[in-house]
Structures are given as C-alpha cells and as structure tokens.
Symmetry: D2
Subunit: 340 residues, 4 copies
C-alpha cells in the first residue's frame, strides 16, 4: 500500500527525535520557560527579521485557532473567514464554543480577496442596524489555504491594508506554512508574513514535528496571553517538548529543507498526472493535489494507494486528495506514477 | 544545584523515547485511530479489570479536566470540589470558561468526606429556592490530592455511594495516580478506582511521559465525546504520540515500577527530615513533601536545592514543597540529606 | 408624519393595560408562580388543543431564541437556520454567545424546504469526517419568516417529518405568529403548530403586549428549564406582568382579533400599492410589505411617512419595509394611499 | 393572611401605571431610543450630580449583573464578591455561564471590607503562580447587602480607593438601592455612589416598578455596550416600558418617597419585635428583618403571615425573613404586631 493520505501520518523528523533524546534528562522549568523554548524563539525572530516578536508554542492547530481568536476578539465580535476556512467547517465549532461567530466570506479556491473583505466591512458599517449584529473583529486566512492555494505578496498586502484601515487584526493560519514558503512560485517570505499580519502561526505538526505550532505576534501579544492559553487548557507542562522541536526545526534551515521535499515530490506527481490525462480540480502549487476521479477508477486506485475523500464532484465523479509531506520518498512517488 | 522542585522537570522515561524512535516512520492514521493507541487501551482495560472501558488519550491535565467536566455536566450544573482542588484554584478558570461553576467543599488536607458531600447535596435539595441555584452535577476529587494525601478504599466507596444515591458522576483526577498506586500504605487498586468512579484519568505527564493523560470511562463515554474533545481544541492530530507512550507505560508494568521510585525516594527523604528535626505541614504518603521552614533557613537552602514555594505559614515561616519523581536518583536524595 | 416603521411602536392593547391596573395591588408570588400565569397557560393549552403542553413566559424574542436553543442543543450541536433567519443575522451573535453555531441553509423568500434540510443532514452524516464538524442538532424556522412569508401546512408537515426522521427538534420562532394565524390565505392553525413542532413561541411583543413571549413545549420541556431561564438572566421577578398580559390576550379571542387588524390594513395597502404601480420585492401575505423604491422616490416619501430601510436593491433602487400592526388605524392607511 | 414575604409581590406604583396608560398609544422608536428613556436618563443624571453618566435600562437584576459583569471583565478575569453575594449563590450560575469565575471573599453580615479586598489582591499578585489563576478583575458589592446591611460613606470610599489602586472597577448592585438611600441612619447619597463606583444599578423591580433596573456608568460605558446587551438577550424592544417607569420614578422624588415607606414600616416592626422579645439575626437598618424563630413558633406564625425561609439556625431554630416594601401599609404592620 502506498500512502498519500495526508501530511501527518509519520512521527517526527529524526533530527528532532535525536534532540529530544539528547536533552531528555536535563532538568528544565515547565510551561515554556525552558532554555530550548527561549532559543527557538530567538531563532524564529531572526528568521522573521522581527526582533520584538512575541512567540508562544501551542500543541495543535484547532487549539491554536481557538486560543488566538478567542483571545483577540472582543466579546461582541466575530471572525471573518472564507466559507471554506478550516475554522468554518472542520473544527467542530471550536470558535463558537468560545462564544464567537465565524462570519463567512465568498472565496475563490479557498482564498478571500481584499475587495470581498472591504465590501463586507463597508456594508456592515453602512447598515443602520449594525449595533444589532455581530461586529467583524478579525480576518482569518489560511496560507496555504484548505485547497493548497497561495496568496501572492500583493494580495497579502491588500488584505493587510483593508484590515488596518478598519483596525481589525489579520490572522494567518499557517498549519502548512512551511509548504507555502518552500514553493518556488511563491513570492511571499516569512518576513513578509510578519509584516502583513498581526498574528500567525508556523505549523509544526504537519511539517516534521510530533506536535506543535508556533504562534507569532510580530508586534505585541495581548496582555496575559499565557493565562488565556491555560484557561483554554492549552498550556503544556513540559514546554520543552515544543521548545526542543522548534529549536531544531529552525536550526540549519531544517524547516525549509524538509518542506521542500514535499513540494518537489508533489510537483513530480502533478506533472505525471497531467501527462497521463488525469483531471485536477484546481492548480495547487503546494503539497496537496485534488484529483477528479471517475468513481470506478477511485475504487480501483483505493486498492493499493491511500488518499482522502474530499467531496462529491457529480453523480459519477469524486474529488480525492493526495498529499505529500516532509517524509514522502521520491521512490514511492515514482512507484505511484508507474502504476497509475 | 539539586532539583526537588516538581515531578515534571525531565523528559520521558527512556523506554518511551526508544519506542517513539522505533515506530517513528510507520505510517499511521491520525486522531487516535492508530494501532498503538488501540493496544494501549487494551492493556489499560486489562490493568483495570474492566473490559468495556472507553478510553481516550488527551495531552494535559487542565485540558483533561476542562474537557471531561465540560462534557459530563448539564449546562445548569456545577462541579463539587474541595476548595483546595486544582480546578478550583490553579487552572486559570478553565472550568468556568466552559460555563460551569466550581462549587467549593470543605476539606481535610485536600480530601473531601462523603459526609460533606452528602450534607451539601441534602442541603441543596432541601432548599426551596434551589431552582435558582447551580445544581451540583458532579463530584471532582484528586487522588493523590494537591497535598499528596490519599483516600482509603473505604473512603472512596463511601464517596461513590453518595454520588450514586444522588445520581451524579464521581470524577477522579489522577494527574499523579501512579504515585498513589505505588504507595505501600494505600489499599486502593486500579480496579477499585474503575469500580468506584464514573470517570478518571491516569496521569502520564507527571509519571514518565512527555505528555498525555488517559481518560477512562469504566462503563461508557458520553456520546460524541471525540467531537467534544475536538471542540475544545484537545484532539491531537498525531495521536500515536500518546498511544505509543501509554502502550509503553502499560507494558511490563513500567508505570508502576517507575512510580515506585518516587515513593521510595520520598520515603527515605521524609524519614531523614524527621530525624533531623524538620517540621512537616502534614503527613503525605506520596511523592510530595511539605516542609515548614524558618524563612532564613529557606533562603539558605534555596542556594543549593530547588523546591517550590507552597504558601506562607506565618510571619517568619513558609511552607515549601519538595517533590520526587520517577526520575529522582537515590544518590541525589542522599546528598540532599547529607547537606540538610 | 404617518408611521409604518414597525409593529412595536405603540404600548399595549388597552384591555391589557386595564387588566394590569385591576390586578396591580394583588399580592402574588413571583417568578411565574402567580395565578394569572397559571390561567394564561391553561387558556393557551386549550387554544393549542394540547392539554399537556409545558409553557413558560419570557420577556423578548432574542432572549427567547437564545434560551430555547441554548437549552435544547447538546454542546456539540448547532442549529440549522435559513441564512436570512433572525438568529443568523440580527441578534448580535446571541446564539454563538451560548457556544453554538448557526448552520446556514439556503432559503426561498426566507423559507427553508424539507429537501434542503434533508440534504444537509444526509450530506453531514454521509461525510466520513463529520465527527470533526458541528452536529446539526435542531431546525429553526420563523413563521411568518423575516420576509413575511408563510409555510403551508404541508410544508410544515414535511419539515416535521424530516426532523423526526433524524431525531432533531423543530423550533418555530413565532415573534409574529398572530399575524400568520390571522391570515385568511393560510391553512396553518395553532394546533397544527403544536403538532408539527417540538417547541415554539407565541409572540406578544409585536402583537399587542408591552413585552412577553409564550414558549410552548407541546410535549415536554427539558428538565430544569426554569433554572436555565434564570441562568441566562431571563427569569422575570414579577412574572405577573407576563401572566396577566397573556391571560388577557387569550381571553375572548383577543390575540386573534387584534392581529386580524394588521392583516386587513396590510391587505388594503398592498392592493392600493399594486394598483398605483408600485413594485413589491415579494408577495407577503402578512403584515410586512417590501417595496422596491427608486431612491429619489424613497427620499420624497421619507418626508411624511416612516418606514424601515431593508436592503439596497441596485444602484438606484432600495427595498423598504412598511409594517402594519394590531394598532394600525385604517384611516391612516387610507391617508397613506391618498398621498402615495 | 398578612404578606411580608418579599418586596416584589405587588405590581407597580399607581403613578407609574397611570403614566404607562397616558403614553400608551404614542408612536415611539424602540430599543431605548424613545423620548421617555431620554428624559429618565436626564433626571437620573441630575439626581446623581453626574452630567456625563451613561445610562441603560435593563429588565431584571440577574440579567443586569450578568450583562454588566460579562461586559466589563476581560476574559481571564473573575469578579470578587462576598461569599454571600447574590451572584455567588442565587443566580443559577449566570456569571459562570458568561465564562467568568465568582471569587468569594469573607464578609461580615454580607459586607466586604477594604482590608479583605486589599489582602486578596496583594496575595494574588504576590503569588508567583498567579498567571495560572483567575485574575481578580472587578469588585461586586450589594448595597443594601443580601442581609439588609449598609456600607458607610467611609467604607465605600475605602473600597473605592483599593479598587482604584489596583485598577479594577467597583460595581454596586443596587437592586434595593432605594431602600438604602431612604434610610435615615445612612450617610451615603446617590452622588456618593456615582463618585465611588465605576458602575452600579438603581433597582426598579423591588422599588415600585413592574420591572426595570437603571445601569449607570458614572464616567463612561464600555464601547458597544448596547450590542452586548442584545447579545445576552437583554435588549427590550419596547424600551418605553422602562423609560416611562424610570421617568416617573425620578419625577417629584417619587423613588425616594415610596422607598421611605418601606423603611418606616420596617422600623416600626423591628421596634415592636424587640419589645416583644423576639431575637434578630442581625441589625439591618433597611426593609428586611431576619428573625430567629423556634421551629414550633415558625409553624404557628406561618398559619397567618407569609415570610420567607432564610436558613436553618440550629436544630430547633430557623432564620426567617420579613420584608416590607414601597407598598406595605402601616395598618398591616400594626395588625401583625398585635397578633405576634
């Protein structure tokens, strides 16, 4: 069986595990006050070109979204988000559980446009009844999006400008940020993201770590953010587990190097798929490939390759997702291609 | 510097790390559906003598408390708890964040009595205005308590009987459960706990794991518990990280064996302290020792041994806590004793 | 100035005020335990042909929606609702404040179809990832809808059948229910509503009362509903204020009689508008009329008649709403018509 | 039967009802934008000597507490309160439902001291672990307290000083404020309260109104308070109902005059009770009298006079409460005294 089901089916990159082993018996303070966490933060600040960034390590993605959004919004505010956004659909209502509405925006292949955001905000403030409605208090985008698509630097700049005009924070969900940064066709850098957003996270879980997401406030975290993390049950006692992992990922460019593997293997696979006449739902430059398959073909492939169901396409076709990752071996891609 | 500050300042037991290394590149399904999680659950069921138990692995203690309590309570209910209970004081209001009140009970050295619980419940239902009050919907106890004390089997049986009489679940916080079970003076076994409670957790973080708590419903979990875990941001993508750790802890009696080390080292230390005339706040049979120190003495000791501040005792004395753990070396205890 | 802005700009029907005056100095128990509340409930049960209905009086509409929905949903569930539904747009996120997501459905003139509901539910349960999503736990409809449209008996029966098939409650927001019931073209009766829904409310605020909505559980209220009402700050100390009002509304058919006035005046107005060549957004049989006006015409009319802005229609036209009510005088309608 | 059960068993003062009748058919804007609300606010500002106060009218007491506290606290904060405070015990967990903990303080006859508050705050900030605890974000006091006792001006000034030192708002629950102000032994005026607190409410429900509490922010309301009121389902559509009532209460000193009746009748009753050898639980200067009765005596009295059960005193005695109100007739008091 070949595995292209998702990008989190292996453990961690072996350098990370080695480092966990090496540091294992050191006696370190808890809750993120250890020296590996400090070192990791310093390295990330350097990578961001953002010496004053406030950084926190959390365990998982839904948790991070709920903590960040729940901490930044005022209680009468909701969060703007593409209707396909992860928080809008696949987080079991974690945002609403914190009391906030997810305000859906139209999208194109998972991306929202500055125009759509501006239009929403102007319509809202132009409505005489808006005091009876949920205030749009934040913009959430994902990069890459849930469809593997990417914002350009210009698009990010435009989104940032609208958010600043209306004084709402721009939050970027970077669960797969490494795969965006490793994409040769993308002109967006880590310092760009730090400049354009008010908060974002650098995903570890899907990019080589056992777990862990690095939340970055390029300027300033909200007061008592740590207490809010604890209040949502998201403060890890042995913060070293996250600190050591991110310290390793940001040493010798490991994060970028291992993410590039996902892009290279995905590019090879896409090229071959198109050559063989397969139809893609959309053109994603990152590590996720959305194939439109005849249902019978899907059955056949399912015998020997693992992928994920994405959505029904029509009565006789289905969209499936193949994902590569930091751990995908090119030889497995070649075997897949041979047998397609 | 000698370290007796807490029981979570090292990483994980080396057998656990080895197992993580060994299984690292296996491709496994996420969210706890992997075979190591399945195997761990099976081994725990055997240890509990409870073949039908529903078991879930969560990451940390406050998270577990918030998820379990927030999932079991009806929305008009609160949770009864010793006023010194962890959820009442040191979890940043995580329970209230889920909308539920913590209802404080009187305690003795951290323990609540069946009488106190019964008295609360009878007074509540006897009050003609109780429809205007928070319903007591659950009892939370910790074992060991925050003061390192233990319930006897008889006491647990009595608490369980009151809870069943009033049809409220009994929840046992086992953050340090391993240390309770390893205590020679205790007559409470793991099967006892499964029999007397409705839900409890077996703590991993403080007993040899990098992270992880095993939530056990000896009879039946609430419907869609997994969704509620996700809704609170507590569902780990790479569930294998928890599965492998608990699978290892419950193989060849590792959990009990490593916890015993904490008890043995603590016992040696307590004996020596008493011999040398130190005063203990209370007699804790587990791995936490509460010393009453003259403030000057505390300063002196603080130069070469790490402990935690517990509470002010009087104007000139302070209570400090020394903790041993699965990782404490007897030679460090002996050195500490020599220099006291 | 003529007033057609909304249906809550006067106080109460004078018979209600008289009754409040008459009963004012009687010493009565609080919190709804008074005899007027009891009598009102009995009369409503008779009108519903539903002798076992559980009935509660609340103060306002948004409050009622938040209390009912927040009390019936399990914590991992959301409420299905037309994307134009009041709870989805104009209640300041009151539902999300209770932790629950509003799940938007497609609609036609404010109405949802049994097909749309069934399709949502089947797609949800057919999705292999649905444990990571918000469970659809309830259907909310309004009757009349926010667009003044009405369900037929057959449509209600079909919605009810889908809800029962999937075991989710059907909740009908009856803020303007009196105006639906008084509509000659409607075949839906109060007993029909009690039969097809699991909970609904009979609106008082917009139909002759100073305030007040009667929540009806035709079969059985959730346990401790009163406590949940209190928990959301919705329990009125002087419940008599609501009891006396509903007792009066359901005496000598007052509710139906005064609501009929709104329908008669609206019908006359609509007829005249169409005659004079005005364009309606849609055909509403109830007390709300949605006019498409040229923006300049809107300005002119705004000098001497009050209406509400509804939404922009296009660059040069606007939709405005004219509402009649229990208190609208036919002479004012005739004057309006004369001057149009 | 004589009624001394509570102070909300009648309707409204007749002048209020007359005014509701007079203004009933005026067409007025909703949600508090009517001219009676405006006029009432202006009169209250004058009475407070506080021309810039922001004032909002809400319907009931628990609702007001939940809205005010839930709007002012940051999400990681709780509210300090006497352990006997209404929000701590008799509001069905309405505060916790908004996600905030009630932090209990020691009290004397329902009053908290500046020392106790200061001690709590100093201990909290002195605790090295306070980032893991609920931040004390507000002080709640009631005046009169739940035991009918009153703060002196000096005590209020001291509480205010501590709150300002630690930059937390002081909130005064004035459900029965009229009875405090009418008390000859009290040196606290309405302008004092506006000066010492950051927010308080003037209770209408228990002092002559059908319903209604006037929330006063002497300096400035939080931004978008109206939206938060709506979000908690507390925004009344026909705001005139509250506006007219408070406009009347603050016309010709009605509020103070009718409250004085409660104090006069209570004073006469207390005097007579003491003369006849009855034992009081404490000396309350306001309209609530707490009697310690032999249980048999309680049974006898219960045959012909209504009072409320307060709490068990010992095995053979019970504390009961007798309350007078704006509506209590001196002739009923005299009859009660005669038959005691």
């Amino acid at each position: 069986m070949l595995y292209f089901e998702n990008d989190y089916c292996e453990g961690a990159h072996e350098v990370i595990l080695q480092k966990l082993l090496e540091t294992n018996m050191e006696k370190l303070p808890g809750y993120g006050a250890d020296r590996y966490s400090a070192s990791a933060k310093e390295k990330i600040r350097t990578a961001l070109d953002c010496p004053d960034a406030d950084i926190f390590f959390l365990v998982g993605g839904t948790q991070t979204n709920a903590v960040v959004i729940g901490s930044l919004l005022r209680r009468y505010e909701g969060v703007l988000c593409a209707s396909t956004g992860h928080i809008a659909s696949h987080e079991a209502g974690a945002i609403e559980y914190t009391g906030h509405k997810v305000l859906p925006l139209p999208h194109e292949d998972g991306k929202v446009s500055a125009e759509a955001v501006k239009n929403y905000l102007e319509t809202f403030y132009g409505d005489g009844n808006h005091e009876h409605m949920v205030f749009p208090g934040m913009l959430y985008i994902s990069h890459p999006t849930e469809y593997g698509t990417l914002y350009t630097r210009e698009e990010l700049a435009a989104l940032s400008a609208v958010c600043r005009q209306f004084a709402i924070p721009l939050y970027l969900d970077g669960a797969r940020l490494g795969y965006a940064l490793a994409c040769p066709s993308s002109d967006v850098t880590l310092p760009d993201i730090a400049r354009f957003t008010d908060v974002f996270y650098i995903g570890g879980t899907k990019a080589g770590a056992l777990c862990g997401e690095a939340v970055v406030f390029p300027r300033k975290a909200p007061a008592h953010f740590l207490t809010m993390v604890k209040q949502q049950g998201a403060l890890l006692a042995k913060g070293r587990l996250l600190g050591v992992q991110f310290d390793t990922l940001f040493t010798k460019d490991l994060y970028r190097r291992i993410c590039k593997n996902a892009i290279d293997t995905a590019a090879r696979l896409k090229e071959a798929l198109l050559e063989k006449g397969y139809r893609l739902l959309l053109d994603s430059p990152t590590n996720q490939i959305f194939l439109i398959l005849d249902n019978q073909k899907m059955e056949e492939l399912g015998q020997w390759v693992k992928f994920s169901f994405w959505e029904a396409y029509d009565e006789t076709h289905t969209v499936v997702r193949l994902a590569t990752s930091w751990a995908t071996r090119m030889c497995d891609v070649e075997e897949l291609i041979r047998r397609l």
